[in-house]
């Protein structure tokens, strides 16, 4: 099956670590971007999600497990709710690599423009996906951006992640 231009460009940017911004409005492409960010990581990933949607993350469970199969790799997660069978399974199977911090919803960061709680994933090769609005998610539309090599933005997200951990400690 031939790839669309979008899919082709995402895979190329991931492979070559290109500094190129991708818009993201569809959930199918959100999955593609997150899979590539996980596959693209060297050793560490940081993920912030308000609810860690079970259905969505189960669809990329294989990518997560493949990443964590290397004992040096780490996946750090901040969530507002950890009542989730997938999270529990990952914590149980990868206790030293999969770390999870549960915080109150109001401790999660909001985007300045949308004023909504955000979700993001960032890895140690400066790749990220930043979702700043999901008000139309019932219609399958999200508002997100991604890049496979943006040091400033990746650094900003990692600092934000650490700030939330410090605040919630």
């Amino acid at each position: 099956m031939s790839l669309s231009v979008y899919e082709r460009d995402v895979k190329e940017a991931s492979r070559k670590n290109l500094d190129k911004r991708f818009p993201n409005s569809s959930i199918a492409h959100a999955k593609l971007l997150i899979q590539e960010i996980i596959n693209n990581a060297n050793e560490e990933i940081w993920l912030l999600s308000s609810n860690f949607n079970l259905s969505f993350y189960t669809s990329i469970k294989e990518n997560i497990e493949k990443f964590l199969a290397n004992p040096k790799h780490k996946l750090n997660v901040i969530v507002a709710s950890n009542e989730n069978s997938l999270l529990k399974e990952l914590v149980k199977n990868y206790p030293n690599q999969f770390t999870i911090k549960q915080v109150r919803k109001d401790q999660l960061p909001k985007d300045k423009d949308s004023q909504e709680y955000v979700n993001y994933i960032v890895n140690d090769t400066n790749a990220y996906r930043y979702e700043y609005s999901e008000k139309d998610i019932e219609q399958g539309i999200v508002e997100a951006i991604a890049n496979f090599n943006s040091p400033n933005e990746a650094s900003y997200l990692k600092e934000n992640f650490q700030s939330i951990l410090n605040m919630a400690a």
Binding site: S4, V5, Y6, D9, V10, K20, R21, F22, P23, N24, S25, S26, A28, H29, D106, Q107, P109, K110, D111, K112, D113, V118, Y130, Y132, D136, Q139, G140, I141, I145, E153, Y156, L157, N160, S163, I164, M167
Partner: protein, 235 residues
């Protein structure tokens, strides 16, 4: 496209306001205007109104929001993915490396199409409900007209007319006014649905849609990541 497929349009979606308006106006007018209540005339009027609304509903339904219209809109959306139209739109917006962004923009239209079809389904359902209500009102009018109000044991002392007579007249008038108001309500609703459909067709033209694509791409490319910490944004 969301501004076209917005969920609620006054009158078209028969919200509480328009239905209440019909009921209140009909109830109010009955006190001041009495319509002819001869049974034969009522039955003839009912049949005429019924045929008029049936014609409007079934003949214009198909042209406004029928299968052909949906099919045409779907074809227009599919054309947006063709190389010819894509290159035309990308040429108009004149931004580098826009092809991937344009593809992502199209995913939003696809979702809006799903919403539009749901909207149409609701409009059709509401129209048929209106049709049923209209028929029931007609039936009630005929039934009321057949009741012999003079056989009531409750009489009005002054006029010697039974109370039931006045209730019957009021109800017949009320149902008739409600029917009469339902027809223009549906016509306005149909015009609004037609306008919505036309706006969709317009939007899906390359020249119309190109500026929206440009806005989408620009907003995504210029989006800054700016997060709050503990509810506060950095200056």
């Amino acid at each position: 496209m969301q501004h076209i497929t917005k969920r609620s349009v006054l009158i078209k979606d028969y919200p509480f306001v328009s239905v209440t308006g019909i009921i209140v106006l009909s109830a109010f007018l009955c006190f001041y205007i009495t319509l002819k209540t001869d049974t034969e005339i009522l039955v003839a009027t009912q049949q005429a109104l019924f045929v008029i609304l049936s014609a409007i509903l079934f003949v214009f339904h198909e042209s406004i929001i029928g299968f052909q219209s949906i099919s045409k809109i779907r074809n227009k959306i599919n054309k947006l993915t063709s190389s010819e139209v894509k290159n035309q739109i990308i040429g108009i917006i004149g931004m580098p490396d826009a092809e991937k962004d344009y593809e992502e923009f199209l995913t939003t239209i696809d979702k809006e199409m799903v919403r539009f079809k749901e909207d149409i389904r609701k409009f059709r359902r509401n129209s048929y409900i209106l049709y049923v209500i209209f028929s029931l009102l007609g039936l009630l009018i005929i039934l009321c007209s057949l009741i012999d109000s003079h056989s009531s044991i409750i009489s009005n002392v002054n006029t010697q007319q039974p109370i039931l007579f006045y209730i019957k007249i009021y109800l017949i008038n009320f149902f008739l006014f409600a029917q009469l108001f339902l027809i223009p309500t549906w016509i306005i609703s149909a015009f609004q649905a037609e306008r919505q459909k036309s706006a969709m067709f317009q939007y899906l033209n390359a020249e119309q849609i190109a500026p929206n694509v440009k806005i989408y791409i620009t907003s995504k490319r210029s989006k800054e990541i700016n997060l709050s910490i503990d509810g506060q944004f950095a200056d």
